[in-house]
């Protein structure tokens, strides 16, 4: 397939963009990665996603597809000869979608608040929902991974992609707080899963380096604290 047919608008630190890249990699789809600059939205982005003006945007034959999980499902359905990302059974699909939705609606907002927490008390309060979320996800992993190593069992799948993209931010939070959020004692399943996920060929090149990501997140925090909101 000609490379020009598939373009992805995104940026290297974004976990949502990572989802799309992992999905394309899983299907061995060649694509052009158009990196958006921080703080400046390109004409193409504004034109392709006028409603949200956000990355990622997948452009396939110039048609835009927006929202990371919508993109992942689209990739799964279009390149159907590649390994399946969503399971085939309707109930298993519903379970995967449920946990992906949980990650987006509950887990990540809690995780994102962690680096912003100032002071010991605020940090502990911010830590609580993150740890709760990880306990639920550890449970989900135990219940659904059928021996693993992935949420999808032997193969990487939808929920692995939906949750695994946040491992970069999780590692930064662990570094900044000094707390091992995912560890062998409280989340043994997730600890093993995280290693396998990050080492997967579809993931390793798009998972950002922890130090680089820490620097980037610090820059964002600084920018936000300086600009009146």
């Amino acid at each position: 397939m000609a490379k020009g047919e598939v373009k992805l608008l995104g940026s290297w630190p974004s976990p949502y963009v990572m989802r799309a890249r992992i999905a394309l990699n899983l299907k061995s789809v060649e694509y052009e990665f158009l990196e958006e600059k921080l703080g400046v939205k390109s004409e193409l982005l504004l034109k392709s996603n006028p409603v949200h003006k956000k990355i990622p945007v997948l452009l396939h034959h110039s048609k835009p597809i927006c929202e990371s999980l919508v993109i992942v499902q689209y990739i799964d359905e279009v390149w159907s000869s590649g390994p399946a990302i969503l399971p085939s059974d309707p109930y298993d699909r519903a379970v995967a979608r449920f946990w992906a939705s949980y990650v987006d609606e509950k887990f990540f907002p809690a995780l994102r608040a962690l680096p912003m927490a100032q002071g010991k008390e605020a940090m502990e309060a911010a830590m609580h929902p993150v740890k709760e979320g990880l306990a639920l996800l550890e449970d989900a992993y135990a219940n659904h991974s059928k021996g693993g190593p992935f949420f999808g069992g032997g193969q990487i799948s939808y929920l692995d992609v939906a949750f695994g993209c946040f491992l970069g931010v999780i590692r930064v939070s662990e570094k900044v707080t000094g707390v091992a959020l995912i560890n062998e004692h409280t989340t043994p399943g997730l600890a093993g899963w995280a290693e396998e996920f990050c080492a997967h060929p579809a993931v390793e090149d798009v998972m950002p380096d922890t130090d680089k990501l820490t620097e980037f997140i610090n820059r964002i925090i600084k920018m936000k604290s300086q600009s009146p909101n």
Partner: protein, 221 residues
Amino acid sequence: MAEEGVKVHGFWISPYSTRVEIALKMKGVKYEYVEEDLQNKSSELLQYNHVHKKVPVLIHNGKAIAESKIILEYIDETWKNNPIMPQDPHEKAMARFWAKFIDDEFLQPLRKALFFGEMEVEKAIEETKVNLKILEKVLEGKNFFGGERIGLVDIVATSIAYWVPLFEKAVEKKMLTEEFPKLCNWKNKYVNHNIIKEALPPKDKSIAYFRARFAKFRTSS
């Protein structure tokens, strides 16, 4: 006897549980409906949706599925007659995009203002109208959001077709006006559809419910 053990745990005035009932009725699937008292949730509900403890929950063959949009896709994938989702992957993606837009963007200002008093009602109406304008364009050249037939987005947009007019009556302010001719036309067709209207909660009871619910946040009108 409900077919293949299909049960819905819902709440009479919840647009989210109504969506699920609409989808099942459109597919001709018989189900048992369990009305939940949200102040006193059943042990079944708490067990089946231990993560969120919310309605709706669909139980099929002893397995529970939660989150209304996820339930809708499950229903479509399990009972293949009268499809809710388009076949074409790009159209499917658009359907999922707009369904998410309705829940995450469109309904939020009204929720914030009317249910939580976190926003001025006038501001919420302003923002809602901006989103109505967006959806008006989506309907261009179509009878329904799903094209010629009712689809996922129409079912999710039941919140717009039926609940927004309920809110309008409860707070005595109009939002879905003649500024949006396609949406008004769609709304009328949709709520009068013979299957859909069976699933909608009774109008007067619903208006009374919302009037009472919104009373604590209403400034004197």
